[in-house]
């Protein structure tokens, strides 16, 4: 079981959600974060005050998936988030020691497998 963390542009978040849905990846969380990668700064001016905005709004996806779902998940995030410009984001893939589904107590792969309704 792996944890896939994708940090993407806010305006591409909907595309990522759609791509993940199409790839049958269910169960994820997303949060708004601020970050700075290699992208160039924005310069903004408020009256006499000029500032360089070092941090950009980003959206962070966290998806825990069984091993054979790692590749489809990564591909979906890349497809959804890519614009080709600097600032498209990063994907981090981490091993997970243990996963527990709170409702049933199921662990690991069973815990990240979606329930068939």
């Amino acid at each position: 079981v792996k944890l896939v963390i994708g940090i993407v542009r806010p305006d591409k978040a909907n595309d990522v959600l759609e791509a993940l849905y199409r790839a049958d990846v269910r169960g994820l969380s997303m949060s708004r974060v601020q970050g700075h990668g290699g992208e160039l700064d924005r310069v903004e001016t408020y009256r006499g005050t000029t500032v360089k905005m070092e941090l950009s709004e980003k959206v962070r996806f966290e998806v825990a998936v069984s091993d054979h779902f790692v590749e489809p998940t990564v591909r979906a995030i890349c497809d959804g988030a890519r614009t080709g410009d600097v600032g498209d984001g990063k994907i981090f893939i981490l091993p997970l020691e243990r996963v527990v589904r709170i409702r049933t107590g199921e662990e690991d792969t069973a815990a990240v497998t979606p329930v068939e309704l």
Binding site: R9, D11, L40, R42, V43, Y46, T50, V51, K52, E54
Partner: protein, 431 residues
């Protein structure tokens, strides 16, 4: 000559029109607030700035030439240039009125400003700011001014008998059908029909609509151009008609979705006020209430159906202004009542000809506004790119067009002091 009248100027009339001018001027930032609430947060400032820009650009153009084109004698289609640069516009009484000429010119300026700003609703979230300002400068001279001349400047519609109290032709139908053309020429937003593009602050929309209604008492009440009985009728009708629309709209919302909506209520206020704009001084109060209720129907239907088409007329200027203004213009033809307005009856009171003159305006004004705007925007588009780049649209027009954000966090912002020798040659993220 009463004590309050000196040199042909009535102080009471002047006082009311001075106040009305300020009320109508306030409607333009109110419109900016209304529109800003209806767009996504990354386009808040840009949307607001379209209205603020109109306050600057259109006022200048008005003083230089547009006032003359609208209100100088000229020919039936358009005024002349004798009043260019406000030449001959002094403190003496305006022809036929008891207010100074200069007051008349600035009162009418406030109408042109908000009408130009209205069109922005069709093209927000993708039009280039500079191109929009250039467009409205030309539009004020070549679309608004002639249309104002037709009904108020002694032009061909007025001389035939068309009634237009406060701008069914030059304000409401002109902005609505210009918005229609602008949406087509500029094209849809890139995310239109692909993502849900939602209003980011319904409170702004409600507050904007409330302030617009407040200002509308100057818009319609002031259009009496005197502080007497006709102003009272227009003022009362400006309360009654939007109230009728609001109630009907809430019921329609309830029937359609089971819940009365806030954005719907804000829209209803605009639709009702637009509907009564051409008719405010011509109808009995009960007719005004009926007009408000009826005006809800075509606009509501259009607003429900429009998003299912590919027309990204983003903030529904055509439905709220074009259709509601058209409804009000035609309504005069049926319900005008000489016992209230002292001028003319409509069809229901025995004067079928009035309906004919109203229908003539309804047939011609939308076509002129649509074609005029279409051609003007195409011409502007030859010189300037009408749209921002795809990257700028994605980033949001607040940052890309103005270098500011509406909801700035300030986290990670580094102060750039010129003394520290900040190197601007380093490339920054330009769209």
């Amino acid at each position: 000559v009463t004590a309050a009248t000196a040199g042909g100027i009535d102080t009471g009339d002047s006082a009311w029109i001075l106040v009305s001018t300020a009320l109508v001027l306030m409607m333009t930032p109110a419109l900016g607030l209304f529109y800003a609430g209806l767009v996504r947060s990354k386009n808040t400032l840009n949307t607001f700035m379209m209205s603020i820009g109109a306050l600057g650009v259109v006022t200048v153009v008005w003083a230089v030439v547009a006032y003359s084109l609208a209100f100088d004698d000229g020919v039936g289609f358009i005024g002349g240039l004798d009043h260019a640069f406000l030449r001959g516009v002094g403190l003496g009484p305006q022809h036929g009125l008891a207010i100074p000429e200069l007051l008349y010119a600035v009162f009418e300026a406030s109408f042109c400003i908000i009408t130009a700003a209205l069109i922005s609703g069709a093209v927000v979230e993708r039009i280039s700011y500079g191109a929009f300002l250039v467009f409205i400068a030309l539009w004020a001279c070549l679309v608004y001014a002639p249309m104002a001349h037709w009904v108020w400047g002694g032009g061909w519609l007025a001389s035939r008998g068309t009634l237009d109290w406060a701008g069914g032709v030059p304000v409401e139908m002109a902005s609505g059908f210009s918005a229609f053309a602008a949406a087509i020429v500029v094209g849809a937003r890139r995310d239109f029909g692909r993502l849900a593009l939602l209003p980011h602050n319904a409170v702004y929309a409600l507050l904007g609509a409330g302030l617009l209604w407040f200002g509308w008492f100057g818009f319609n009440g002031g259009s009496a151009l005197t502080a007497g009985t006709s102003a009272t009728l227009a003022f009362a009708n400006t309360l009654l008609a939007p109230a009728g629309t609001l109630v009907v709209w809430l019921v329609l919302d309830l029937l359609r979705g089971g819940k009365p909506t806030a954005i719907g209520a804000a829209t209803a206020i605009i639709v009702g006020a637009v509907g009564i704009t051409p008719a405010a001084g011509y109808l009995s109060p009960m007719s005004a209430l009926l007009l408000g209720a009826l005006a809800a129907l075509p606009s509501y239907a259009f607003i429900v159906l429009r998003p299912r088409t590919r027309l990204d007329e983003t903030l529904d200027v055509l439905a709220a202004h074009g259709l509601a203004g058209l409804t009000g213009m035609l309504f005069i033809g049926f319900f005008a009542q000489q016992s209230w307005n002292g001028i003319s009856n409509g069809l229901l009171f025995g004067n079928a000809a009035q309906l004919g003159w109203q229908a003539l305006a309804v047939a011609v004004a939308p076509v002129y506004a649509f074609v005029g705007t279409f051609v003007l925007l195409k011409l502007v588009g030859i010189v300037l790119p009408l749209r921002v780049t795809e990257r700028a649209e994605r980033l949001g027009l607040d940052v890309s067009q103005h270098g500011e954000e509406a909801y700035v966090q300030g986290d990670g912002a580094i102060l750039v002091s010129p003394e520290a020798g900040f190197e601007f040659s380093r490339p920054v993220a330009q769209p």
